[in-house]
C-alpha cells in the first residue's frame, strides 16, 4: 500500500517518479513506471555488506552472494541464471561494504519470472544449499580474488588504503573480497547462519522499474514474497563513526614488481547524503576528475611527471567516505616530486577555492553521470534501492542531481580546507622491484590492478 508518496514528479527529478509500498512482512517495494522501452528492471538490496562481517570471516557476505545463485527451493543448480538468460534477461549480484544487491533486467513480459525467482531464494535458499556448492564457490571466489587483485599490478592498492584509513577493528577496515585465509575458513554453517540472520524481507528493499503495470506488479510481489516470514535478531553493524580527520598522516611503502612508481592516497571525507559530501565530490572533480582537472593539468600536461593522475570517490553511508588519489609516474620521476606538486595544488585549492568555470565544469560532469545512471531502468532501480536502504527515502535518488547543482563554491572550498590535508590521509607509495628482488623482499609476487570498485560480482 502506498505510504504517502504518489507518482507526481518532485522538483528537480527530471520528471521521474517512484511510488513506495510495504508488505506486511516488512518488505519495502518501490515502483517506477517508464514505457519507453519494453524492459523491466528488478533490483533487490539486502541491508548487509562486508561491514557486518566478523573477525576471521572476511569475505563471507560476498561468498554468500555467490551461493544465492546455486539453487533454492524450486530452482535447481544454476537454474536462476538459466531461467533469466533463457527468458532474454540479464542478471548479476554484487557485494559492497554496505549492501548486497541482486538484479535482473528482463523483457517486460518476463517480469513475473524474475519476481518468482527472487522470492524463491529469499524464502527457501537453505533447502538447496549444500557442501558441494560451498566448496565449488569458495574456489571460484578465490580465483576471482586472484584475477582481480592478486595477479594484476597495483591490484591490492585499494585494499591497503582502506586498511590504513579505517583502523583495525573498524567495520570498513577490510574490503568485500576478504582474505584467502578467511575464505578458506568459512563453513557451511557460517553460510547458513548468515542467511538466517540477514536474508529476510524486513531487511530488504525491492525496486521494479520500467515498462510495468504498477497494480499488477504489486499483486505479483504480494503473491510471491508476501508469505515469506519476517524475522528480527539482526545485530546492528559495528559503529563506523570516526573523527572527521585522521589527525596524522599514515604511510606505507610497497616494494613490488609493478611497471612504474605510483603515489596513491586516501582521504577521509564527509558521509554520503550530506551537503558536505556533495561539495567534496565537486572538489575532487575539479582537482582530479577528467582531463581538465587541476592535477591532470599540472602533472600530466605541464610538469609531465605523471602518465595518469586523478581522484576517485567512494561514497559511504555508515563511515566517512573516501577520496582516492592515484598518480602513476612518468619515466624515472621520483615520488617526492609528485607529492610536493600535489600538496601545492591541494593547498592552493583550499586557499582560493574553485573558479566559477571550474564549478560549472564539475557540476556538468556530475550531472551527466547522474543522467547516465538514471537513464537506464537498471541504473534507476539500483539508485532507488540505494537511497531507500541507506537513507530511508528512495525519492532522494531522483533529486540527487539537483542537490549537486545547489552546492556553492564556498562550500567546496570549505570541505577542501577541512579534509584535503596531509594530516587526513593515508599514503601508499609503490616502488618497483625486479622479479628477483621481489622474491627476496617478501617471497610473493602480489602484482595487482588498480580498481576503484568495491563491488564483487557473482558472474565474471
Amino acid at each position: 500500500m502506498p505510504m504517502g508518496h504518489t507518482a507526481t514528479a518532485e522538483a528537480g527529478s527530471g520528471g521521474l517518479t517512484a511510488t513506495e509500498h510495504r508488505l506486511a512482512n516488512g518488505l519495502r517495494v518501490i515502483l517506477s513506471e517508464d514505457h519507453l522501452t519494453p524492459v523491466a528492471a528488478v533490483c533487490l538490496w539486502y541491508d548487509v555488506g562486508s561491514r557486518h562481517e566478523v573477525k576471521g570471516r572476511t569475505g563471507l557476505a560476498h561468498l554468500f552472494e555467490h551461493l544465492m545463485f546455486q539453487g533454492s527451493g524450486q530452482v535447481k543448480g544454476n537454474g536462476h541464471f538459466e531461467l533469466v538468460q533463457g527468458a532474454g534477461g540479464s542478471l548479476n549480484g554484487t557485494t559492497s561494504f554496505e549492501r548486497t544487491n541482486y538484479f535482473e533486467t528482463m523483457p517486460a513480459h518476463q517480469l513475473e519470472l524474475a519476481l518468482w525467482l527472487e522470492a524463491d531464494r529469499m524464502g527457501s535458499l537453505l533447502t538447496a544449499l549444500d557442501d558441494e556448492s560451498m566448496e565449488n564457490q569458495r574456489d571460484v571466489v578465490k580465483n576471482e580474488r586472484r584475477q582481480r587483485y592478486d595477479n594484476v599490478p597495483y591490484g591490492t592498492a585499494f585494499e591497503k588504503l582502506t586498511a590504513l584509513v579505517y583502523p583495525e577493528g573498524h567495520p570498513y577496515h577490510h574490503t568485500p573480497i576478504g582474505s584467502m585465509d578467511d575464505l578458506d575458513a568459512a563453513t557451511l554453517d557460517d553460510a547458513r547462519a548468515f542467511f538466517r540472520t540477514y536474508y529476510a524481507p524486513n531487511n530488504a528493499v525491492l525496486s521494479v522499474v520500467g515498462d510495468i503495470d504498477p497494480e499488477q506488479t504489486l499483486a505479483w510481489v504480494e503473491k510471491y514474497f508476501g508469505t515469506i516470514p519476517a524475522h528480527d535478531g539482526k545485530p546492528a553493524p559495528r559503529d563506523g563513526a570516526l573523527p572527521d580527520v585522521m589527525g596524522q598522516q599514515v604511510r606505507e611503502v610497497v616494494e613490488e614488481e609493478v611497471p612504474a612508481r605510483a603515489l596513491m592516497a586516501a582521504y577521509r571525507l564527509p558521509q554520503d547524503d550530506t551537503r558536505a559530501c556533495d561539495a567534496a565530490d565537486i572538489a575532487l572533480t575539479v582537482l582530479g576528475g577528467g582531463e581538465s582537472s587541476r592535477l591532470y593539468n599540472r602533472l600530466v600536461r605541464r610538469d609531465r611527471t605523471a602518465v595518469a593522475a586523478g581522484f576517485g570517490m567512494l561514497r559511504l553511508a555508515g563511515a566517512p567516505s573516501l577520496g582516492w588519489l592515484d598518480v602513476k609516474t612518468s619515466g624515472d620521476v621520483e615520488v617526492p616530486v609528485i607529492e610536493a606538486a600535489v600538496d601545492e595544488e591541494l593547498a592552493r585549492f583550499a586557499e582560493e577555492g574553485p573558479s566559477e568555470e571550474e564549478m560549472e565544469r564539475a557540476q556538468a560532469q556530475l550531472e551527466r553521470e547522474w543522467l547516465d545512471r538514471l537513464g537506464t531502468v537498471a541504473g534507476r532501480a539500483d539508485s532507488l534501492c540505494r537511497y531507500a536502504v541507506l537513507f530511508g527515502d528512495p525519492q532522494r535518488a531522483l533529486t540527487a542531481v539537483q542537490r549537486i547543482l545547489e552546492v556553492s563554491a564556498e562550500e567546496v572550498r570549505e570541505v577542501a580546507r577541512q579534509r584535503l590535508r596531509p594530516d587526513n590521509r593515508a599514503v601508499l607509495v609503490y616502488e618497483p622491484t625486479t622479479p628477483a628482488e621481489a622474491a627476496e623482499a617478501d617471497g610473493e609476487s602480489a602484482e595487482s590492478h588498480q580498481s576503484h570498485e568495491s563491488d564483487e560480482e557473482a558472474g565474471a
Binding site: 517508464d34 519507453l36 522501452t37 519494453p38 524492459v39 527451493g73 524450486q74 543448480g77 544454476n78 538468460q85 533463457g86 527468458a87 532474454g88 540479464s90 523483457p107 517486460a108 513480459h109 518476463q110 513475473e112 519470472l113 518468482w116 524463491d120 527457501s124 566448496e135 565449488n136 569458495r138 571460484v140 580465483n143 576471482e144 586472484r146 584475477q147 592478486d150 595477479n151 594484476v152 599490478p153 547458513r192 505479483w220 508469505t227 515469506i228 611497471p259 612504474a260 577528467g290 581538465s292 600530466v300 600536461r301 612518468s330 619515466g331 556538468a364 551527466r368 543522467l371 547516465d372 537513464g375 537506464t376 531502468v377 537498471a378 622479479p435 621481489a438 602484482e447 558472474g459 565474471a460
Partner: protein
Amino acid sequence: MTEQLASMDFHPRPQAGEPKPWAFPAPERGVLPNGLTVLRCHRPGQQVVAVEVHLDAPLDAEPAGLDGVATIMARAFSEGTDKHSAEEFAAELERCGATWDAHADHPGVRVSLEVPVSRLPKALALLADALRAPAFEDSEIERLVRNRLDEIPHETANPAIRAAKELSKHLFPAGSRLSRPRQGSEETVAAVETGAVRAFYEKHVRPAAATAVVVGDLAGTDLDALLADTLGGWTGGTASPRTVQPVTADDTGRVVIVDRPGAVQTQLRIGRIGPDKHDRAWAAQVLGTYCLGGTLTSRLDRVLREEKGYTYGVRAYAQPLLSTREGTGAAMLSISGSVDTPNTAPALEDLWKVLRTLAAEGLTDAERDTAVQNLVGVAPLKFETAAAVASTLADQVEQQLPDDFQAQLYRQLVETGTVEATAAVVSAFPADRLVTILVGDAAQIEEPVRALGLGEVTVVKG
C-alpha cells in the same frame, strides 16, 4: 532449515506474458554537401546523445616503422584546435558535461562523444573543430608520444593485455599490421613526430572518407541546421577507394608460455581467425559460440567454473577484426580467462575435452533454444541507451555492412537451427587448430602443459 521450506507459500513458475514488439532501430542515412555521410536515429527519452565518427584511416595505412601514428593522431584531436589550446579544449568539453574518446583500430579511427542533448550544439562545434583544424602542436605531440611510451609497460604488465598481444604476434604473418600492437611498440612510437601525424591526417582524414552517427532524443533539435553549422564546415578532397589485403593466419596448434615467475594464476588466450559478419555462417557462429562460452551456464564454465572451480570465468568470443564487403576479412575467434596456477594443465585438459565432446556429439536443441532466446531477448536491454545503438551503427559502417545488418541478424538467429549452430562452432574452434597463449609461471606449468600434447610448446620471457 526445513522451517524455511515450511513457512512460505510456493507457487508454480509463472508463464511469460505477451511479448511486446521491438526492433533494432533503422537509421536515416544522408550525405552532407562536403561529402560526410551521416546516420541519424531518434531515440525518444535518451537525453544523453551519442555521436560516433568513423574515419577511414586504417592501421595498415600507417607508414612503415611508424606504428602508433594513427593512435597519436586520434589522441591529438582533443589537444587543441585553431580556436582553443589543449587545456581550453578539454575544459570546454567538460563544461558541456561531455565525454570524449578517440582511438585507432584496424578498420579506422573512431571518435566517440556523449553529451546531454541541451549541450549538443556546443559539443558538435568542438568535434567539428577537432576534425577540421586540429592544432597538432609540437609540444602536445611530444607529450602524447611520451605518455604513450609510459603506458606500454603498464599494458605489458597486465596479463590479459599481454596475452592478447602475444596471440596476434603468433597468429598473423610477420609482415601483416595485424601481427603488431594496435597502438605501436616502444620503438615505433618513439619515432612519431608532428610531421608524421600531420601527414597521416592530411592523407586520410577528410569528410568524404568519414561517417558520423548521431543517436538520441533529437525531437527538440534541428539536426540539419546544427550539422550545417558544425561538421558541415569541414572540407577536404574526395576519397579514393582503398584495397585491403585478405586476412590470413597460421593456426597450427601450438602453445606459447609467456613466463611470469610467481604468478598465482595463468591467463589463457586461445584463438584463431574465422568468418566475419559478411559470412552467411555468422549468425550460426554467434549462436554456437554462445553455447560454448557465452555465459556462466555455457559449456566451458559449466565445467571449468561451476563444476571444478578452476576459474572466475572463461568466455568464448567471435570479434570482427577487419572486414570488407568483398568478404576478404576475418573475425578473431578466441577463448579467454584465467585459472589458478596449479590447475592450469587440468583446466586446459578439461577445456579440450569440452571442445572434443562438442565436435563429437553436437549441441542439444535445448541449448540452442536457450541461446536464441537470450541473444534475441536481450536486444531491447542491450540497446536501451543511445551510446549502444550509435556504437553498433558505427561498427556496421566500419565493417562495410548494410545499416539493417543488426536487425536482420536477429531474424537470422531465430531461424538458425541446432545443426547449423553446431557446424559453425565446431568449425570455429577445431581442437587441433588453435594457438594457445599462457601468461603464467613456466616453472610450474610448462611440464604438465607439454604432457597434454596440444602442439609445440615454447617459452618466452614475460
